[in-house]
């Protein structure tokens, strides 16, 4: 028990410098804008008084260290500034979009797992056969097809040609299907390949041979023994891929006009609403770090070997 607590505490402490680094990088973004950020936001034709006023609003007229301190202090209090476009707090606008993005990300992961695990198991059980090659070629194709192509293709076929499913906006489950498939495709491919590799590895272990020699059926040896032990690495990879799904959502939400954080980010870039851009980037990165941490912790708790490394 003590070992678990020490492991948890150490992992948590190690996350702090990473989060500080992320915050610092996001803070410095606005200072990477070539020239005067306020002038760049308002355009070349803006009058000097307006530029000056915006510099003041953004706090750019204060010394850098004061700006940085203010940014971190705001962050701790959950204050990410005000949107330049709407005048509303960045945090509340992001909070409004969280359910849509999480709904899409979770649906994509469900689709991915539902497709990938049977495919991976088939590859492992019928290793070297045509079924295996077909499953793995499909998986490699899945990794290679970008979601910004798969999305429009699905929209053409199922939205336009057959007219079965809506291709934009959020609503009932029918709105979720195409975006979730388009976002989950690449993840499915990764998980299928991993499932195949881990199950093949586990099938070579002595405990599987032992189970078979005790009279366990092949089906039981694969599903009850090898697959069960493969679940830890599979769950870990799915967890670690959550970040890729969130980034993918930036594109998928744009394609399907899905009202989530990714779409908000892309729209804010278009409007040069930099406080909002910073807020979205920070939110996605911190969520990613958080999910990775949770995955790591879970892995450590489930598998004692990890704790002592």
């Amino acid at each position: 028990m003590l070992a678990v607590l020490v492991f948890l505490a150490r992992r948590l402490v190690l996350t702090i410098p990473v989060l500080l680094g992320v915050a610092t990088l996001v803070f410095s973004l606005i200072h990477l804008i070539p020239g005067d950020p306020a002038q760049s936001i308002l355009g070349e034709a803006a009058v000097p008084a307006d530029v000056e006023a915006l510099r003041h609003t953004l706090g750019l007229d204060r010394p850098l260290i004061v700006q940085y301190g203010g940014f971190l202090a705001g962050l701790v209090q959950g204050n990410l500034g005000t949107s330049l476009r709407t005048g509303e707090p960045v945090t509340s606008q992001i909070a409004d979009r969280i359910p849509a993005t999480f709904e899409l990300a979770l649906a994509a992961m469900v689709v991915a797992i539902a497709v990938a695990i049977p495919l991976g198991l088939a590859g492992a059980v019928w290793r070297g056969t045509i079924a295996d090659h077909a499953a793995m070629t499909m998986a490699l194709a899945g990794v290679s097809i970008p979601n910004f192509w798969l999305g429009p293709l699905l929209a053409i076929v199922f939205g336009v040609e057959f007219g079965w499913l809506p291709v934009s906006g959020r609503g009932g489950i029918e709105h979720l299907i195409l975006p979730a498939i388009s976002l989950g495709g690449a993840l499915a491919a990764i998980v299928a390949r991993l499932t195949r590799a881990t199950v093949i590895e586990e099938l070579r272990e002595q405990y599987v041979t032992a189970a078979r020699s005790r009279g366990a059926s092949r089906r039981r040896a694969v599903l009850g023994h090898a697959f069960r032990n493969s679940l830890i690495p599979i769950v870990t990879v799915v967890g670690l891929q959550f970040g890729a799904v969130l980034t993918g959502a930036v594109i998928t939400e744009t394609i399907f006009s899905w009202p989530g954080i990714g779409r908000l980010l892309v729209q804010s870039i278009g409007f040069r609403d930099y406080p909002m851009v910073q807020g979205c980037i920070l939110f996605i990165a911190v969520t990613y770090v958080g999910v990775n941490l949770a995955t790591d912790l879970l892995y450590g708790v489930l598998d004692p070997r990890i704790r002592y490394r």
Partner: protein, 262 residues
Amino acid sequence: MTRTGLTIVIIVVVMALVGPLVSPFDPAAQELSLRLVGPTATHWFGLDELGRDVLARVLTGARISLLVGLIVVGVSSIVGTVMGAVAGYFGGVIDEMISRVIDVLMAFPGLLLAIAIVAVLGPSLVNVVLALTIIGWVGYARLVRGQALRVRELEYVSAARASGAGTRRILLHHVIPAVLPAVAVQATLGMGGAIVSEAALSFLGLGVQPPTPSWGTMLSYGRAHLLDAPHVTIFPGLAIAVLVLGFNFLGDGLRDRLDPRA
């Protein structure tokens, strides 16, 4: 698999180089009366929203994709290998510093940091290459660092050190050559990754700007015509998928050959 991948990559490279022989049309020439016309015997891939030949634009776009891939992978792999080798070989404070930078950059999932960088620097091909390199070197550095930690303990490296070889010599002649196969595999897979990333940024309007043809930009403009002209979307996307599949096949095949454990 390696051979299939190599064949695909070679075909695309050759097509990109001899583009005008395959499609005699100027990728920028507009034939407004034929806008959005589908594939015909003259225009195999049809015409886009400004009446430009889609095949000619796909072929020119291949040059952009391959160029971006080569520069991003080339610079990232060199910078990453050097940083990783230095961090892993020396350890201590240098390793701590490089590793913390790697940790922070890795805290941004996939393309997110590239999107952020291009969003503030402004959309352009140069900024895309810069952004993808900033996020790209980290993967190589982490890979090489791990390998360098292992290699520096091997007997032949100790022997070289004992026989008076300097740090620079050990790094260049012993540590880096030992990690090169792994870097080569990652670089091959990285070509596919860089090509998709460039296309993704261009698709979001953050990359290559019109009128320069890029596969991502073409897909982005094609979206408005999904109903009346799906060919504008289908062909550039197919080109990306095929080329990336080629690099993935090649990378996977190389990994199987160079690293039998994987």
